[in-house]
């Protein structure tokens, strides 16, 4: 047990070192200069000497490795720095935007599950029927409609015409509905098709036939055996989706003025606010790492075959 913990710890340390160094390198090597944003050159009269002075003061003229070591020295003391533009502590900024984005991501996933599970299951159970055609059409539409357009359509219908929901903002559950539905519909298409094909595959296995021969009811066969067996590939994609949902819901956040982390980081990239970008990348990397670990663990729970294989190979961890 101790050895496993030590191994995990070393893995995490290497992961953090690699991810922070690569992201630091990419952020700094990308063209751009935060000094111009900090000095508000488009609004305040500034001379070239003042620009150079600040650049020197902030250490941008130092070699990249020196800059990284400076950043890392602060980082190991859990000092993630302050935003160049607003002077806010970086972690405070990231942590204040994260709940909104998580809310949106979870809302979208619930909408997706609410549509994809019944539609994908029915499409698999009634292959080739009209319901299968409907699911195909829904998937195609979902994949083809740009989410910003869908969002505006939903605002027009539910907020302008019916006055049932707010157009924007983060004011409780009602304001979460439209952005969640928009985002949920956008990702549903992938899952409907994936669940359908995975279910069709699992329904054709011998253990289903065996279950039927034992007289187990169709409903129980479907949920307790076939559905569970078909989940691993869906969960793999689910893990990737969750990562991309947390990192990339910018368009939805902008349209619905939902104050999440995606929009915050896009603004930071635009103004080359390095500490904020760096802090965001670190938090995202840790979240994605955790989600992927959770996905890995879930395979073993959902698919007994895997557990059996591991046991046969003598892996008990």
């Amino acid at each position: 047990m101790f050895r496993i913990l030590v191994r995990r710890f070393i893995e995490v340390v290497i992961f953090v070192l690699v991810i922070t160094f690569i992201s630091f390198l990419f952020v700094r090597l990308a063209p751009g200069d935060p000094v111009l944003s900090i000095l508000q050159v488009d609004d305040v009269s500034v001379t070239n000497e003042q620009v150079n002075e600040l650049r020197e003061e902030l250490g941008f003229n130092d070699p990249l490795l020196v800059q990284y070591c400076d950043w890392f020295a602060d980082f190991i003391q859990l000092d993630f720095g302050h935003s160049y533009l607003t002077n806010q502590p970086v972690m405070e900024m990231v942590m204040s935007g994260l709940p909104a984005t998580l809310e949106l991501a979870v809302g979208a996933l619930l909408v997706m599950l609410g549509i994809a599970i019944p539609l994908g299951s029915l499409a698999a159970l009634y292959r080739g029927s009209w319901i299968d055609q409907v699911s195909r059409a829904v998937s195609l539409l979902g994949a083809a409609i740009p989410s910003f357009w869908l969002g505006l359509l939903l605002i027009d219908l539910f907020a302008v015409r019916w006055g049932a929901l707010p157009t924007m903002g983060r004011d409780g559950f009602r304001s979460l509905i439209l952005p969640s539905v928009t985002l949920g519909l956008a990702i549903t298409s992938v899952y409907v098709r994936l669940l359908r094909s995975s279910l069709i595959d699992s329904l054709s296995h011998d253990f289903i036939r065996a279950a039927r021969s034992r007289g187990i009811s169709e409903i129980r066969i479907f949920f307790a055996h076939a559905f569970r067996y078909s989940l691993p590939p869906v969960i793999t994609v689910f893990g990737v989706s969750l990562g991309s949902l947390i990192g990339g819901v910018v368009v939805i956040e902008v349209i619905f003025a939902y104050p999440g982390i995606g929009k915050m980081v896009v603004d930071s990239i635009r103004s080359r606010d390095y500490p904020v970008i760096q802090g965001y990348l670190l938090v995202m990397a840790i979240i994605v790492f955790m989600v992927n670990s959770a996905v890995d663990l879930s395979y073993r729970y959902l698919n007994p075959e895997l557990r059996l294989k591991e046991r046969n190979h003598g892996k008990w961890s």
Partner: protein, 509 residues
């Protein structure tokens, strides 16, 4: 099976409860109050008035500055400072308005203003550069400020929203800055909205509104829809295409006001062809300003004759210029260019330009395309190159000839900012590379000239010289569009500076 369903149900329920508890519904708070909701196009995650570049605190009436910009005659006037004077442009005496209190009831006196300005300079390198203050002395309501160098435009720099005066002893600058304005912060939802309540002891008379909401949305379509749905009462920069829809809605009024911004064609004077004034004049003549204003900006723009909008006292009456294809051809003739096989050339070399443009201002790439098409008719090959951040690209690369660029020209009522930044060899926005001894001496003279009238005369002379030399070409001043529910909102004034939005006069019917 049942246990699994129950777990999922509990997780969903917990999530719903969490989101429902996160914030209370905005509409619940509004019921029956004298309130407006203004929807602005830049979001902010911090209300700190000394560093927030969206200037929300000043715009929302939370804070005020020492000096105010009069929107009608575009001159500076007293605000928190009652008066000011300086004999040499370096030592300034300010007399503060009496009886002004912060929203926590504490008095705004010299000591508080000194602390606030020092804090602004400490936290914002931009403001430190802009104010160039060496020392501040406070005595009661009198303030003596010494600048590092003679700095005659100093009072106009105090119009800048980041010089807002706050009580620095109240340190939650990000969520609840304490200013002297007619509205105090009641709740701030970063990136979404700030809720405001009337400050009863406001020095210029308590606001007519009981409360207000200043919300943000960066999507123009979504802003238009918010006005249509009634979620917002005043909307900044709605989508131009949605104006037709607004006409069909009773009571919606659209105001279109010219700004202090100019869309210009920046010329790289280090390129050989552009060192010939006749080529620069040809480019200027080729720009079809009226057509660009009418078609690309749907008429919501003022055709530019120079950098400063015509209402400024330092905007000269420029002599009428020759424009159009024939005039451009005439200038190129004078520069020695001839059209051979449809290509404009000199000494066998074709005239070609690399034109930079960027998409953060949607109209600029379209202007570039119109220019490319018009130049093509004259046999000039224009290659358009899309860039991301123009300031960075133009400063670091000299492989371009022209750029469609947008500049603020006199945001605080003085020409000094634009002329220094754009035409002085040391200016950070001097992308054209202007290094003209006569022009530099004129700007240096402006920098030590005290007195608004004298400064205006000199700025006018400089603007005229820049026009004669055609160092840059000016296309148009884009308008700001504001749509609002005129059946509900009363006393709304669309500020040309865009600094002043929620005021104590704003009311509902």
């Amino acid at each position: 099976m049942f246990r699994k369903c129950r777990s999922i149900f509990i997780v969903c329920l917990a999530f719903l409860l969490l989101t429902a508890c996160s914030t209370e519904s905005a509409k619940d708070q509004v019921g029956g109050k004298k309130e407006v909701n203004l929807l602005f196009n830049f979001a902010t995650s911090s209300l700190d008035p000394n560093v927030d570049t969206s200037y929300v605190s000043l715009r929302a009436g939370i804070t005020e500055t020492l000096v105010h910009l009069n929107d009608e005659d575009l001159t500076i006037e007293p605000w928190l400072a009652k008066s000011w004077d300086s004999k040499d442009g370096q030592l300034w005496n300010f007399e503060l308005r009496e009886g002004v209190t912060f929203q926590n009831g504490k008095p705004m006196d010299g000591k508080a203003v000194k602390a606030s300005l020092e804090r602004a300079m400490n936290d914002s390198p931009a403001i430190k550069n802009a104010l160039r203050i060496e020392s501040i002395e406070a005595d009661g309501n009198a303030l003596t400020i010494k600048t590092e160098v003679p700095f005659p435009e100093f009072p106009s720099e105090l119009v800048h929203p980041n010089t807002s005066i706050i009580d620095v002893k109240e340190s939650d600058y990000i969520n609840k800055p304490i200013g002297t304005g007619p509205f105090a912060v009641s709740k701030f939802i970063p990136g979404t909205a700030v809720d405001l309540i009337r400050y009863e002891s406001y020095w210029d008379g308590a606001a007519k509104l009981e409360s207000a909401r200043f919300s943000f949305n960066e999507d123009a379509n979504a802003r238009s829809l918010a006005l249509e749905s009634g979620d917002a009462d005043i909307v900044f920069r709605p989508e131009v295409e949605s104006l037709e829809n607004f006409k069909a809605i009773d009571g919606v009024k659209v105001e279109s006001t010219s700004t202090f911004r100019v869309h210009q064609m920046t010329m790289n004077l280090e390129r050989k062809a552009l060192q010939d004034i006749h080529v620069r004049k040809a480019i200027d003549a080729l720009i079809d300003r009226s057509s660009i204003a009418d078609t690309i900006l749907h008429g919501h723009a003022e055709v530019a004759t120079g950098p400063f909008p015509s209402t400024f006292s330092f905007a000269p009456d420029y002599p009428k210029k020759e424009n159009g294809m024939e005039a451009a051809k005439g200038f190129l003739d004078q520069a020695g260019y001839k059209k051979v096989d449809g290509v404009m050339q000199k000494d066998g070399k074709p005239l070609t330009f690399t034109l930079l443009t960027y998409s953060s201002r949607a109209d600029l790439p379209l202007i570039a395309q119109v220019f490319q098409s018009d130049a093509g008719q004259l046999g000039i090959d224009v290659k358009i190159k899309q860039i991301e951040i123009p300031e960075e690209y133009m400063a670091a690369n000299r492989d371009w000839d022209l750029t469609t660029y947008s500049n603020l020209t006199a945001p605080r009522g003085d020409a000094g900012y634009y002329l220094n930044a754009t035409y002085h060899p040391k200016g950070a926005l001097n992308f054209s590379g202007a290094d003209d001894d006569y022009l530099t001496s004129l700007i240096d003279e402006l920098n030590v000239t005290v007195g608004q009238e004298k400064r205006s005369d000199l700025a006018e002379e400089i603007a005229m010289y820049v026009d004669e030399q055609v160092y840059n070409s000016f296309i148009l001043h884009p308008n700001t569009l504001v749509a609002y529910d005129a059946d509900k909102v009363e006393n709304w004034i669309t500020s040309r500076s865009e600094y002043y939005m929620l005021t104590n006069e704003l009311d509902v019917k």
